[in-house]
Symmetry: C2
Subunit: 242 residues, 2 copies
DNA sequence: CAGTGGTCTAGACCACAGG
DNA sequence: CTGTGGTCTAGACCACTGG
């Protein structure tokens, strides 16, 4: 595999170019998994960058779980592929990515003062106006989830058409409110009769529940959601790291 | 609040001392949330450290969600408290921390070749020997979870007594296999009659399911688990960040 | 324009692991 | 002891923001 040389005129930071180069060498097998990297001084020399820059590149891959460093020992390759941390995406994005043709039906949408528990979750004063809406999400025609959301109106005005055509997170991102942090609680319970009817399931069928509050980089609460998913058709996959 | 001065003879890195100092100033309210920090050059001067060291301290707090930086703008305080990323802990630890008096009953324990799906999850050759065990976890006397685990024998030999007195993760940590990364899948289903009996629940009651594979820092698979939790008594709380 | 954070360098010393 | 990564410095230049 061809590895591009470093380009010092590029706006891409040097350390990032170096990291990408290492990543390619590892993924292509030229640097074997389980093997050791040269020491950072020699690597820096070989690539013609300073040691701090080399360290930054290595550190970047360490944070992504590809390398492990030990003082006095060296740097070892532990994974050929990067493990991604938990994704902060919406169901819509997930389905679209896996080719499941998501569609959405808006059952309700209005602007109202935030109920107490929602205001508390969002960390806004009671009575703050939010857009409140209820959606059913389908995947390849099958009902999958029943979703309730609140988005403060001063974050983003939302319209039915937008929500039917695109995912909430996509709309938030487009408006500059990039979700960066979220508290989630995942549980399970039996579906009520009404929920079962909407989801095309039987009463008492197990459903996954998820409530989430999401904030952007500036710490501004952008979304509160309380959703249920058909347990027979959905589960959450997470990669955790500490 | 008194803030300790920097100690250049301490083995604690300077940048970490600086970060702790900033953290205290913010938590004590001397630096107001929403306010801006001085620029990094002046801060470095004021504390008598170099700019790179100051940057590293600030970066540390940025990664923990306490500060937000924007080029050309400055550094803003967005959270008084640090948000922790997802915890990688066992149910036992969680219960113990919240004062729920966890107890464990070992229903079964043996050493056997890993079943195919377990070997695949652990990424070890088929037939690798694992300790396989089934536990019921109680909280304040009530059954809470039914847990199945596999731990490769060459990672750690496990005995009933140990597992009854302590959590699996505590045992792994004590043996030097610190779980650092995990893939989890969380779902839900209805309990079988046998499961319901063991959990003191009724047949068909909703249960949370969780399967997990955990690795240590060196990329070595240390644990595979397949658990069910009574939905009426347990849910997962997560803080995600990207 | 002035002020901010982002990148990069060359070199120094230290702490830890292993033979 | 040698070799490794970990920390720290002083200074340079660049890129972006806002007035």
């Amino acid at each position: 595999m061809k590895v591009p040389a470093l380009d010092r005129t590029s706006p891409v930071p040097l350390y990032f170019q170096v990291a990408g180069r290492l990543e390619q060498l590892i993924e292509s097998g030229q640097l074997p998994v389980g093997g050791r990297l040269e020491n950072e001084v020699e690597l820096a020399d070989r690539l013609g960058v300073s040691r701090p820059t080399m360290r930054r590149a290595i550190q970047y891959l360490v944070e992504r779980g590809m390398l492990v460093r030990k003082r006095g020992i060296g740097t070892q390759i532990v994974h050929p592929k990067v493990r991604r941390p938990v994704e902060l995406s919406s169901l819509y994005d997930d389905l679209a990515k896996s080719g499941k043709q998501p569609t959405t039906r808006i059952r309700h949408l209005d602007v109202r003062p935030a109920p107490d528990h929602v205001a508390e979750a969002l960390g806004v004063p009671e009575g703050t106006e939010v857009t409140w809406f209820e959606r059913i999400r389908f995947a390849t025609g099958e009902p999958l989830a029943l979703m309730h959301n609140a988005v403060p109106v001063d974050v983003l005005p939302l319209r039915r058409d937008d929500l039917e055509a695109r995912g909430l997170y996509e709309l938030l991102r487009a408006a500059g409110y990039v979700p960066r942090m979220a508290d989630q609680v995942v549980g399970a319970r039996a579906a009520t009769a009404a929920e079962a009817r909407l989801l095309g399931d039987t009463r008492g069928a197990p459903v996954l529940t998820m409530t989430r509050t999401a904030w952007d980089a500036g710490g501004r609460a952008v979304e509160y959601g309380s959703h249920i998913y058909r347990a027979s058709r959905y589960s959450f996959a997470l990669t955790l790291s500490s």
